[in-house]
């Protein structure tokens, strides 16, 4: 509930900008995440509106095909799935592939990351070195979607499929260390 002093309500697609006089009281349930505020109004984001567990499962389901490809080529390859998140950056869903030389320095991370942008979520993905940040692949792996579960899953799935198709890139990276992935 927003009260009182609403001066305008503008809706574009899934988003609503509520124009308010300054110094208004805002009462809302659930408590929203205020992501933007200026003289025209405020943007609110409800953290509960995206099911991040479902997004993580969708990403991992697609990336599992990459693991299948790699294990078919190198049955002994070591890999693991991971997840990270916090209130500001809700999810990083990824898989880690280790170099075949047995050294765990700078393994290859294939992951999809999520960051809030107003009422939207920026989805980005890449294949990179875990410790160096060297980028092996990131072409056309970023887009902004509405902060709704279906939209986020759709965007994340598209990017995860692009990453999963790069099994040759990952295979080459774990077989032969890039100069940046060497210690020292």
């Amino acid at each position: 509930m927003i009260s009182p002093n609403i001066t305008s309500i503008d809706s574009i697609a899934d988003y609503t900008m509520v124009g308010l006089h300054l110094e208004v009281s805002l009462v809302a349930h659930p408590v929203p995440y205020v992501v933007e505020a200026d003289t025209r109004g405020i943007s609110l984001f409800y953290p509960e509106s995206v099911d991040w567990d479902a997004v993580h499962e969708a990403v991992q389901d697609i990336l599992s095909k990459l693991a299948e490809h790699l294990l078919a080529a190198v049955p002994g390859a070591k890999w693991k799935a991971g997840r990270a998140g916090d209130p500001r950056f809700p999810l990083f869903s990824y898989q880690v592939y280790y170099h075949l030389d047995g050294d765990d320095y700078d393994p290859i991370v294939v992951g999809v990351d999520f960051a809030r942008e107003g009422f939207a979520v920026r989805v980005s993905g890449d294949i990179s070195g875990d410790e160096t940040g060297h980028i092996y692949f990131d072409e056309d792996c970023e887009q902004t979607v509405a902060a709704r579960t279906k939209s986020v899953i759709d965007g994340a799935s598209r990017i995860a499929r692009r990453l999963a198709s790069q099994h040759e890139t990952v295979l080459h990276a774990i077989r032969q260390r890039h100069p940046r992935a060497r210690r020292g």
């Binding site: 990270a84 916090d86 980028i135």
Partner: protein, 142 residues
């Protein structure tokens, strides 16, 4: 860059960058110190998770890094800047590590933290560090 005033090991006040950069991804392992490398100190350099006060020192051109605000670090995590006047100390290097209530490095807790690396478990100090993250996947221009 916004700066804050901290106390050097000698008790002298000095300016220190507030934002620091950690090269690589924001995976659990990359935000957990490595046993050995990160738990062993050197003259001028405290043990801990390495971060840098400039993107140029954290990443090569085209590479990515994670950005943290030292003002958002919560106890027991603390920033230990290098002393570049000593051998092994670097101008832009800062170690993030747990500290005792007296502000000294908590070696036992640091080793406990580093022991979690590679286990698939997220140590609570890694979660605490995440709360200080302000930007993700920042790229150094080519």
């Amino acid at each position: 860059m916004v700066t804050w005033t901290g106390d050097s090991p000698e008790g002298q006040s000095e300016l220190m960058a507030r934002l620091v950069y950690r090269g690589g991804s924001r995976s659990v392992d990359n935000l957990t110190p490595r046993l050995g490398t990160d738990t062993t100190g050197h003259p001028g350099k405290s043990p801990g998770l390495s971060v840098f006060t400039s993107l140029e020192h954290a990443a090569e051109p085209g590479e990515k890094a994670q950005v943290f605000d030292l003002d958002l670090l919560k106890p027991p995590l603390q920033a230990f800047p290098d002393d570049p006047t000593l051998e092994g100390g670097e101008e832009d290097h800062v170690s993030i590590a747990p500290a005792t209530s007296e502000g000294e490095l908590d070696e036992k807790l640091l080793k406990d933290w580093s022991a979690a690396r590679g286990t698939g478990q997220t140590h609570w100090l890694t979660d605490l560090l995440r709360h200080a993250q302000v930007q993700l996947n920042v790229r150094r221009p080519r």
